[in-house]
Amino acid sequence: MTTRIVVAWALVGVPLVYGVVETVRKAATLFTG
């Protein structure tokens, strides 16, 4: 069951982290110009 939980969270967590990282990179231009 633990493996299943890890896989399930990874399936949704990895895309979410990708989205947050991409957005933060884009948002950084707000303060760096």
Binding site: I5, A8, W9, V12, L16, G19, K26, T29
Partner: protein, 464 residues
């Protein structure tokens, strides 16, 4: 009736099933349907492809949001009766079909097919998908309903964060002349059609993962060491049950409708105008010190604040209570709006800070409301009640942009506005938040005459 493999009875969790599989199942659906907030990526491409107005393209999004509210309100009882697997499955079918019909519309240059596909069919998928995991999460997490719904509804905010950069990269792949990092670059219609087909395939897989992972708890299941009496120790938390039909006859439902409407309208007031707003606030002698790329970064930052607020504030409500957290959303949101209107133009950092706080409360308001409904009306038909409450979102989706755009129209032309032009609209939002605060303060426990007589017999089973 639903096919047997989707039947609620087939989804009852056996012994040893972990409730921590439910949030990722819910997230899988919400991350997909959250794409609706990433439509700006291909809006200009559709505008050029169909050779029409931006308003005509914007209608696609408006239809989808209106259909979201309507389908959530109408299908809520069906969702509660048939369970989350059937709801997620149906939502996936509508959402994916919406993309496919829209792709056909783009290929054949028939805009009405995009209205029908993404707007109407996709919008129905949005509404059913949005409410599909809510009541199940609340039943699995009776000890922390705010945390549970916050995790899922956070996904709706997060969906755009994923879809936006992903769509940009896919459009670059399908159209060699398109550069997603250049705001002036526009993809061709063929690339958008291929993007829609790709998104349809990806979302089908993800949403089916959610549908076939989700389970409902057995009737006698409880979290280890938790007793229902623990939840009912706060004034507004009931152990009674109120049906959806009775709930809409209570003043509490309509007070919460006003609370959600005011909170969402105030948030949309900023979201709708975010990019031009920050440029206008820092415009001197006709030139803004904030570039278009930086304004795009500001929109991204607001999306993160919106998403984080859904999780952080909703989880916090489990500790401080639902009514006090809305006092914060509406009261502190009101103060933040006043500060934005009066001090926002003095510093970019302050402007971003106030706007991010407001958007975090906007997200928090969305994510906490299912738990607020659970507290007031019980778990019996909380999904259906939530669905009906979401009509406030549809109404706010029309009212928010209308208020802001109409006021700005009287202040000057786009590209020439300054911070002064926004102040009337911002103070209207302050007034709305004051109205919402009063509505929240008037919320009292639901009168006993609205309670179901037999709490041991779930209505959703008896009516099936």
């Amino acid at each position: 009736m639903v096919p047997s493999f989707l039947a609620r009875e087939r989804t009852v969790a056996g012994p040893g099933y972990s409730r921590w599989l439910i949030p990722p199942a819910a997230l899988a659906v919400h991350l997909c349907i959250g794409q609706v907030y990433a439509t700006s990526v291909y809006k200009t491409a559709l505008y050029e492809h169909f050779d029409t107005s931006l308003t005509a393209i914007g209608v696609v999004f408006s239809i989808a949001i209106v259909m979201l509210g309507l389908s959530a309100a109408i299908a809520g009882t069906w969702v509660d009766r048939n369970g989350p697997r059937a709801a997620m499955f149906v939502s996936a079918c509508f959402w994916v079909t919406g993309f496919l019909v829209s792709a056909l519309g783009i290929a054949s240059e028939q805009l009405w097919l995009v209205y029908l596909g993404y707007g109407v069919i996709g919008g129905i998928g949005l509404g059913i998908g949005y409410i599909s995991p809510v009541s199940t999460l609340i039943k699995w997490f009776p000890d922390r309903p705010g945390l549970a719904t916050g995790m899922a509804i956070m996904g709706f905010g997060g969906g755009a964060l994923i879809a936006s950069p992903l769509s940009g990269r896919l459009l670059s792949l399908y159209d060699g002349g398109y550069d997603s990092t250049d705001p002036m670059s526009v993809a061709d219609g063929h690339a958008v059609m291929l993007l829609f087909l790709t998104l349809a395939a990806v979302y089908l897989v993800f949403m089916m993962f959610g549908a076939f992972t989700v389970r409902v708890p057995a009737d006698d299941w409880r979290p280890d060491g938790w007793e229902p009496s623990q939840a009912a120790q706060k004034e507004l938390v009931t152990t009674a049950s109120v049906s959806a039909n009775n709930a809409i006859r209570t003043p509490q439902f309509w007070l919460l409708w006003v609370v959600l409407f005011c909170n969402v309208t105030a948030g949309i007031g900023i979201l709708e105008q975010a990019a031009p707003m920050i440029q206008d606030f820092f415009r001197e002698d006709g030139t803004s010190s904030v570039t278009a790329a930086a304004a795009g970064g500001f929109v991204g930052l607001l999306s993160i604040a919106n998403m984080a607020g859904r999780f952080v504030w909703s989880s916090t409500s489990d500790v401080v209570g639902r009514k006090p957290i809305y006092v914060l959303y509406l009261g502190a949101g009101l103060v933040a709006y006043v500060l934005l209107a009066t001090l926002g133009a003095s510093s970019t950092v302050l402007f971003v800070l106030f706007a991010a706080v407001i958007l975090s409360f906007y997200g928090g308001g969305f994510a906490t409301v299912p738990a607020y409904l659970r507290d007031l009306f019980g778990t019996l038909q909380v999904g259906a009640i939530h669905g009906r409450l979401l009509t406030a979102w549809s109404a706010a989706g029309i009212a928010g942009p209308l208020i802001v755009n109409q006021i700005l129209d009287t202040q000057g032309s786009p590209g020439e506005l300054t911070a002064d032009a926004y102040r009337p609209a911002l103070f209207v939002m302050v007034g709305l938040l004051a109205v919402g605060s009063i509505a929240n303060l008037l919320v009292r426990p639901v009168a006993e005459r609205f309670h179901e007589p037999d709490r041991s017999r779930p209505l959703e089973r008896s009516s099936s």
